[in-house]
């Protein structure tokens, strides 16, 4: 059932895309088939395959009942990590790469260690871990910023 929704999503996407392809300008002396030629073929093929697959699912009782693995992405450990991921992205935008990375590494590593082993380890290890991760973040920052001269995003604090 979930899979049918998933495939339906793609069929919808293709339908929208197809519609959009009619709004594209056509240059008069374009002898190469136009910009819409190839995408339309792809979208048509994708729709056909999705429809066939839906028919196959509807025919097969077992498949109809099968669970579509998707929502468990948002629960428990995976959900936490996904959230951390998203917040990291926002953090880079707002706080700048360096601060966001330090926060992300420390929080994610510690929380995940808690998930994995049930505790955070002795205070000595927590300290070592924190310093090490911060140093790691600095190292990457230095590598990209100064050696590769690729500008890392800076946030409201300017670093």
């Amino acid at each position: 059932m979930g899979e049918i929704i998933f495939l339906g999503f793609f069929i919808l996407l293709c339908a929208l895309g197809f519609g959009e392809s009619f709004t594209w300008t056509i240059v008069e002396n374009d002898t190469s088939g136009g910009a819409a030629f190839w995408p339309r073929i792809i979208m048509a093929a994708l729709v056909i395959c999705c429809v066939l697959r839906i028919i196959m699912i509807l025919r097969d009782q077992e498949a109809l009942r099968a669970k579509f693995v998707f929502l468990d992405l948002f629960y428990s450990h995976r959900g936490f990590f996904l959230l951390a991921f998203v917040l990291y992205a926002v953090g880079i935008q707002v706080l700048g790469f360096l601060i966001a990375t330090i926060l992300f590494l420390n929080i994610a590593c510690n929380v995940m260690r808690y998930f994995a082993k049930g505790d955070l380890g002795k205070p000595k290890f927590i300290a070592v871990r924190t310093v090490g991760l911060c140093a790691g973040a600095f190292a990457v920052y230095y590598f990209f910023n100064d050696i590769l001269r690729i500008m890392v995003p800076t946030g409201i604090f300017g670093i």
């Binding site: 594209w24 190839w38 994610a108 590593c109």
Partner: protein
């Protein structure tokens, strides 16, 4: 002979040999870290190369080139994150091997295969450059289109259990490759949803990290209690594949992949990712052990790694003899040569024959350096797997973040990989295989470009088909292979159903 000795003389200096090693190490590092890739490394070292002479500059840049193509296998095998696009196909069998605990062995196989592929194409470069160039220029857009369609038809090699799911995956990949400004004329904004950042399309690094790496990271986050399988390896310092894995059984796939890789390299416009994919799918189709592919079979690792290094030597052929770079790295190397005052092209072999020999020798040495350095490095690399997941995953995310931000210098791509990651997660965990998606994406925009060019040349699709050329032949072969694969699957399905009915 005199020029050969002359060339040897130019190489035989400590500076040159050292630069080859330095370049190779830099290349391996950049290749291994996902998000950093060889063009960045080459661009980084290019200003240094201005100050060096021609031969040392070539030594450095070619070392980076060889190291970079090969280094991608490290993270591909250990983390299922291809360090370079060329290593995508290495993940198909390399990562399962690592999960079985054979990570070090897989890396050794990859390194050994890279060495073989690179050396093979270097030999071809040395002796067959001119005749092969003449053949290569006979391939026009229609032939390229046929070749791309042929490569796409081999997708059936990557499909696991369900044909439809595999095709859906491939078409999704093709669809993604259409996003952005249209290929030929750059006139139309396709599927960009009004976001100007999508006008460049989804770049390769972003797609690989988003669809391929992020789902794996997210899945692993849910399995924190299990540690990754410890890599079994003897405490060797220098790691080469076991005798069994170097044996006769694998010679055929090595030779086949070398030839395919070199051939793809010679064709201007096709790169190492195409070569590795084509080689992998072809190897699966022609292997006696088809079912093993995808489960951790050394043949698969050989097929991918031999081919992607064979492309390097092949790509140097059109660069030197026609002035046409095979990929972005050879383009920068070519620019470096031009800036040194050496015009590549048909006159190169007559005006600077010693330079050609120099480049060939450097390529051999760089391959050797790559092999030695990487084999020493394998025990170190293998230790990465032993780092507990709760440290490893956030660190990987950090590297991926930086990598994808550095592609276009903006944060948008980071959000994009999250979206792609969710899509990839949905696909992968419901048995929609990801390799066809990657195949479709890699080949998509080129296929369209060659199709449209062919139409400009010949007028209509029908006119193109009427031509007696490699393109038509390959297109027919593509159709035949697709139909045959579908029929064979149906047959299996029919006989299975019949078998069930008979049993029941």
């Amino acid at each position: 002979m005199a020029t050969f000795l002359d060339a040897l003389g130019q190489i035989a200096s400590l500076e040159v040999l050292l630069l080859i090693c330095v370049g190779t190490v830099v290349g391996i590092i950049f290749g291994a870290i996902p998000g950093l890739n060889t063009p960045i490394a080459v661009a980084l070292l290019l200003p240094f190369s201005y100050k060096l002479g021609t031969v040392p500059a070539m030594a450095l840049l070619l070392g980076v080139y060889m190291g970079g193509i090969s280094g991608g296998l490290v993270s591909a095998i250990l983390l299922r994150i291809p360090g370079t696009a060329a290593a995508i196909a290495t993940t198909f069998d390399g990562y399962p091997m690592c999960k079985k605990g054979l990570g070090a062995e897989a890396m050794a196989i990859g390194t050994y295969g890279s060495f073989i592929g690179g050396t093979f194409s270097a030999i071809v470069l040395a002796f067959l450059a001119s005749p092969l160039t003449k053949i290569a220029i006979q391939f026009g857009p229609w032939d390229y289109f046929g070749l791309m369609m042929f490569a796409l038809s081999l997708v059936s090699a990557l499909i696991g259990s369900s044909v439809l799911k595999g095709y859906i995956s491939m078409f999704i990949g093709l669809f993604i490759s259409c996003i952005g400004l249209s290929s030929l004329d750059g006139l139309t904004k396709r599927f960009t949803l009004g976001m100007y950042q999508l006008e460049g399309g989804v770049s390769m690094v972003i797609l690989i990290i988003g669809i391929y790496a992020v789902p794996e990271i997210l899945s692993a986050a849910g399995k924190l209690r299990e540690d990754m399988a410890t890599a079994q390896y003897e405490k060797k310092h220098f790691y080469i594949p076991s005798k069994e894995h170097r044996g006769r059984r694998y010679w055929r796939v090595m030779l086949q992949s070398s030839i395919i890789g070199t051939f793809i390299g010679i064709m201007p416009g096709l790169g190492s990712s195409t070569g590795a994919m084509l080689s992998y799918t072809a190897a699966q189709k022609t292997s006696k052990h088809k079912e093993e592919f995808g489960t951790g079979c050394p043949e698969g690792v050989y097929a991918s790694e031999v081919a992607n290094n064979a492309v390097t030597g092949g790509a140097l052929i059109p660069m030197l003899s026609l002035g046409i770079p095979g990929d972005s790295v050879t383009a920068i190397i070519m620019a470096a040569l031009i800036l040194q005052g050496i015009s590549v092209g048909p006159l190169l072999f007559t005006q600077h024959p010693d330079l050609v020999y120099v480049i060939v020798i450097i390529v051999f040495l760089a391959n050797l350096a790559m092999f030695i350095i990487q084999s020493f490095g394998i025990p170190l690399f293998a230790k990465i797997v032993q780092v507990p997941r709760f440290y490893l995953l956030p660190l990987i995310v950090m590297c991926c973040a930086m990598g994808c931000i550095s592609v276009n210098n903006r944060l948008f791509d980071f959000y994009l990989i999250i979206v792609l990651g969710i899509l990839g997660y949905a696909l992968e965990n419901n048995k929609y295989p990801l390799p066809p998606l990657l195949l479709g994406y890699i080949l998509g925009s080129d296929t369209e470009l060659y199709l449209r060019r062919s139409l400009m040349y010949y007028g209509s699709f029908g006119d193109c088909l009427k031509m007696v050329s490699a393109g038509t032949f390959l297109l027919i072969a593509a159709v035949v292979i697709t139909v045959a694969a579908l029929v064979m699957r149906n047959k299996k399905l029919m006989s299975k159903l019949r078998g069930k009915k008979a049993a029941a």
